[in-house]
C-alpha cells in the first residue's frame, strides 16, 4: 500500500515539473514514468491517459497553491495589505525560479495558451482555477470597498480579473526574458488598476 500510493505521488510530481517546464505536448508518458521511476503498468493503474494525468496535475497544483492564497488573503491586516502580500508572493515565486536558473512561469497560464483552443476538458479545469483565483481576490477587494480603503468604478469581480490579467502578463514577460524584474513593483501597477 505504501509503495503504490508513493508511485502515484511520484508520477504527479514528475508530471507537474515536466509539464511546467516544457508544456503538455512535448512531454510523454514514458518520460514521466522514467523520471518518476514507475512502470507504465503502474502509471495506467492510476491514470487513464496523459490528459487524465494533466487534469489531476492541474487539480493538485491548484489545491496546494490555493492553500497558500487563502493563507495570505485571510491573514490579519487591512484588505489591501493582504492583497499586496499575495502579489508579492507571486513575484517572489518567480524570483525563486530565476535563482534556480529557469523561469517556467505559471503552469495554468502555460497550459491555457497551449490547450484552451483544443482540449475542452482541460480548458474547463483551467477556467475553474482562474474563476477561483478571481473570486478570492474579488472577495478581498469587496472588503476594501466596504471599509472605504478602496474607491473604484468597477465591480470587485472585474477589478480582480484585470489585476490577475496584469499579473499573468508580467509573468509572461518574465518567462520570455528569463528575468523576474518585470515583476518588480507589481503591486504598484496592479493597485493603479483600481484607481
Amino acid at each position: 500500500m505504501g509503495r503504490t500510493s508513493t508511485a502515484r505521488e511520484r508520477v504527479l510530481d514528475a508530471a507537474c515539473s515536466l509539464i511546467r517546464s516544457r508544456g503538455y505536448e512535448a512531454v510523454g508518458v514514458a518520460e514521466v514514468c522514467s523520471v518518476a521511476d514507475v512502470r507504465k503498468g503502474s502509471f495506467y493503474y492510476y491514470f487513464d491517459s496523459k490528459q487524465a494525468l494533466t487534469r489531476e496535475v492541474i487539480r493538485e497544483h491548484w489545491r496546494s497553491e490555493r492553500a497558500r492564497w487563502v493563507a495570505v488573503l485571510s491573514a490579519s491586516g487591512a484588505p489591501l495589505v493582504r492583497l499586496e502580500a499575495l502579489f508579492d508572493m507571486q513575484a517572489d515565486d518567480i524570483r525563486a525560479e530565476q535563482k534556480s536558473n529557469v523561469i517556467n512561469g505559471c503552469i495554468f497560464a502555460n497550459l491555457s495558451l497551449e490547450l484552451s483552443a483544443r482540449d475542452a476538458s482541460i480548458r474547463s479545469d483551467l477556467e475553474s482555477v482562474f474563476d477561483e483565483q478571481i473570486a478570492l481576490v474579488a472577495e478581498v477587494l469587496g472588503e476594501a470597498m466596504a471599509d472605504g480603503s478602496l474607491h473604484a468604478d468597477d465591480t470587485p469581480h472585474r477589478l480582480a480579473s484585470a489585476m490577475l490579467a496584469q499579473l499573468e502578463g508580467l509573468v509572461l514577460f518574465a518567462k520570455l526574458r528569463n528575468d523576474a524584474s518585470s515583476l518588480d513593483g507589481v503591486w504598484s501597477q496592479v493597485r493603479r488598476l483600481a484607481s
Copy 2:
C-alpha cells in the same frame, strides 16, 4: 519561379495558422506540407527545420502586424487617441476570431509560454517582437507626456510594458474562455495604469 515562390508562401501561411491554433509541438512538418499542398522536398528546399520555419513565421507575422501597429500609431490625432485605437484594434481582432468560432489569441504570447524556457533562438525572436511592441507604444506615450496630455510617475518604457502586459493577460482570459468580452473596455483598464 512563380510556383516555387508560391509554395514558400503557402507553407508559411499554413504553418502560421496551424501553430497559432495548436502550438509548436503539436504541429508537424508533414501536416504543414499537407495543408500547404507542398511536397516535403520543397519544404526542405526553403526551410532547414520546423524551428527555422517557426522563426520565419514569427518574423513574417510580426512584419505584417507591425505595419498595422505603425499605421494606427502614426495616424493623425492626439497621442492617447492613437493608443486607444491600437488597443481597440487588438480587441477587434480577438472579437473577429470569436466570430469565426475559436479564439487562438496572440501567436507571440502562445509561443512565448510554450517555448521560452527551452528554445533560445525562438525566445530571442519573440523577445525582439515584444521589445519592438513596447518601443512603439512607449514612443507615443512619450509624445503624450511631452504635450502634457499624460502625467505619469513611470518612464514611457515601463508604462508601455505594463500596458502590453495587461493586454496579453486579457487575451489569455479571452482564449481560456473563448470569449472576447474580457477585452471590453480594454482601453479604460490600460489607461488606468498611467494614472
